[in-house]
């Protein structure tokens, strides 16, 4: 197992390097001269040229890339913002926890609600409960997340006045943003859980368990659920990526000072190093979540575990 963990982490390194190269290259393609952005339109050519030389913008692409990667990987330094001249790493370090809390609690909430919904629908297949929750889930996956946030604000802070519409503060401020990010996850989880559960419920070992007189509850929770959960873990890690993306927009709507607002504002200010740093940070965070998920699957799925730990005891595959 330790060997597998090591290997999986090693495999992540080229991907992260690739992400940095890709994002850096994309940002190089942006039209406009950073020196002009910083100095404004009234700067003289001489001033612009001096700044270009100082920032190393006249160096060949590959030198700039090397320098950027050195800064990022060795010093965790993403450069400074063109607009505010503040270190991007400091700013990201301050903002990232908010985005992370936001995304993770949304994820947890969606698992807590989505899994029971899906299991329940599968157990009562073709009943009213099943149709009801699946119709809701289908409608839920067809709602744009940011619009759902707007509707939540409209209802709960506009009409009812129960919760604040935006800003940060006590627990009250977190309810609407978290519910709105969790919503898409809930519907995805419920659908996935239901189909996973249905697949398992009809397999032979469940019939076997029922036949030997295991209690219904026990069949479901001890025999069926663990196997049905495995695909859900994969889907959950993918939808964490969606949640991270969703927080970008949700943060703007709810005015939460996280990484998302930082990036979105930077896009409109043409503050490219900020976009570059923010995107890299979130991509790396996502890679780590995928890593955790792969390790979790390896730990809980005996089939994968057997493959990893050599599978020597097993006969040839197929």
């Amino acid at each position: 197992m330790a060997k597998y963990i090591g290997k999986r982490i090693l495999l992540m390194i080229p991907v992260i390097i690739g992400v940095v190269i890709l994002v850096f290259t994309l940002m190089q393609l942006t039209p406009g001269d950073p020196a002009e952005v910083i100095l404004g339109s009234r700067a003289t050519d001489a001033q612009i040229n001096a700044l270009r030389a100082e920032m190393g913008l006249n160096d060949p692409y590959i030198v700039q890339l090397g320098r950027y990667m050195g800064d990022v990987f060795l010093r965790f330094d993403f450069g400074t913002s063109y607009i505010s001249n503040v270190s991007i790493s400091t700013e990201l370090a301050q903002r990232f926890p908010k985005t992370l809390i936001f995304a993770v609690s949304g994820m947890v909430l969606s698992l807590l609600i989505g899994i029971p919904l899906g299991v329940n629908a599968a157990i009562h297949q073709n009943s009213l409960v099943d149709y009801g929750s699946m119709t809701l889930a289908l409608i839920g996956t067809s709602l744009p997340g940011f619009w759902f946030s707007l509707v939540l604000i409209l209802v709960f802070s506009g009409k009812l006045g129960w919760l604040p519409a935006y800003g940060i503060g006590g627990i009250k401020y977190w309810i609407l943003p978290i519910v709105s990010t969790a919503f898409a996850g809930i519907t995805t989880m419920a659908r996935q859980m239901r189909s996973g559960m249905l697949e398992v419920i009809h397999s032979d070992y469940i019939t076997m368990a029922k036949a030997k007189g295991v209690k219904k509850q026990s069949v479901i929770y001890r025999h069926a659920l663990p196997n049905a959960l495995i695909p859900v873990v994969t889907v959950a890690s993918m939808s964490f990526g969606t949640a991270l993306g969703g927080t970008l927009i949700a943060e703007t709507i709810f005015a939460i000072p996280g990484v998302g607002v930082y990036i979105v504002n930077a896009v409109s200010n043409r503050d490219y190093p900020v976009v570059q740093g923010g995107v890299i940070l979130l991509a790396v965070a996502f890679s780590f979540i995928m890593l955790l998920c792969d390790l979790l699957i390896a730990a809980i799925d005996p089939r994968v575990k057997a493959q990893i730990t050599g599978g020597k005891k097993r006969s040839k595959k197929k």
Binding site: P14, V15, I16, G18, V19, L22, V23, L26, M27, L29, T30, P31, L138, I139, T141, S142, L143, P144, G145, F146, W147, L150, V151, I153, L154, G158, G241, T242, L244, G245, G246, L248, I249, T252, I263, V264, A266, V267, S268, R270, Y272, V275, Q276, V279, L282, A283, F286, S287, M290
Partner: protein
């Protein structure tokens, strides 16, 4: 999958979809939206750009079916024209990623070797960036606008489609009919286009159908935060962005574009689900 009875296959799929009430409903709903978008100039009661300040912020009434926005523009006309933009972006970006993804994935899967390795590592990198985040980075590079939004949304899909295409190709590559084609001296190009592609078509079609809805939602989100389509273009997300300051006072401005997005995406999801089941040989009854 025999190609001998080419027609009966299509008939078979259509028949299987028609058994699925949800899929039929979704298909009809989507078709209706497409027709409304095409005939928008005939249906729209007013000019969608015409500012009419005395009639601003009206709730839905008989004169203005869906009310007016803060500049007095007729919401119904705007929503109709908005369907054009949303559909164009959704379908356009999916086609963009399908075309490039299929070509790249087919080449990688068919030729294998270093090309395959390179393409797959690139896909790993692209897919390890969460969708919306890559979209925003690309929107930053390309700038706002309808066409650039299509490109930004289409780019990431290339990786997914290429991966799917590659794995389908690997599945059919060992089939005997390909040996037969090769021995009868077909070129690689002809083998891919005439023999491999038709047999790998189904998963791409399903993925693309589902993709249109997801792209429409993503595009609306991007427009809302101001990096996609810009107001006063009546794209649904841009309409929401445009009227965001009036949402609390006049909820219809917020509800109507959102419900439109929901209807289109729901229709596509229903139809896509049905299509997936109909094309799945395992579910053949």
């Amino acid at each position: 999958m025999t190609n001998v009875k080419k027609k009966s296959q299509l008939v078979e799929v259509v028949k299987r979809i028609s058994y699925n009430k949800g899929a039929v409903f979704g298909g009809i709903l989507f078709l209706a939206v497409v027709l409304l978008a095409i005939f928008a100039p005939l249906i729209a009661p007013y000019d969608y750009m015409k500012v009419n300040i005395p009639n601003r912020c009206l709730a839905p009434c008989r004169e203005f079916l869906l009310g007016t926005d803060y500049m007095g523009r007729d919401m119904f006309s705007r929503v109709l024209y908005g369907a054009r933009y949303s559909l164009l972006i959704g379908v356009g970006s999916v086609l963009f990623s399908a075309v490039f993804g299929v070509i790249i994935g087919a080449a990688a899967g068919y030729f294998g070797g270093w090309l395959d390795g390179l393409v797959m590592r690139l896909c790993d990198v692209i897919q390890s960036i969460p969708g919306m985040i890559l979209n925003i980075a690309l929107a930053c590079v390309l700038g706002p606008g309808v066409f650039n939004t299509i490109l930004a949304l289409g780019f990431q899909g290339i990786a997914g489609t290429a991966r799917l295409m590659r794995s389908s190709i690997l599945n059919v590559r060992k089939m005997e009919y390909l040996d037969a084609a090769r021995t009868s001296n077909c070129s690689s190009f002809r083998i891919i286009v005439r023999h491999v592609f038709p047999n790998t078509f189904a998963p791409i079609l399903v993925q693309s159908t589902m993709g249109v809805g997801a792209r429409i939602m993503a595009a609306a989100g991007m427009s809302y935060i101001g990096i996609g389509v810009q107001p006063p273009t009546p794209e649904w997300g841009a309409m929401l962005a445009d009227s965001r300051d009036f949402i609390m006072k006049y909820p219809h401005m917020c509800l109507i574009p959102g419900v439109c997005i929901m209807i289109v995406v729901l229709a596509l999801n229903l139809f896509g689900d049905g299509l997936r089941d109909a094309l799945d040989p395992k579910l053949k009854k």
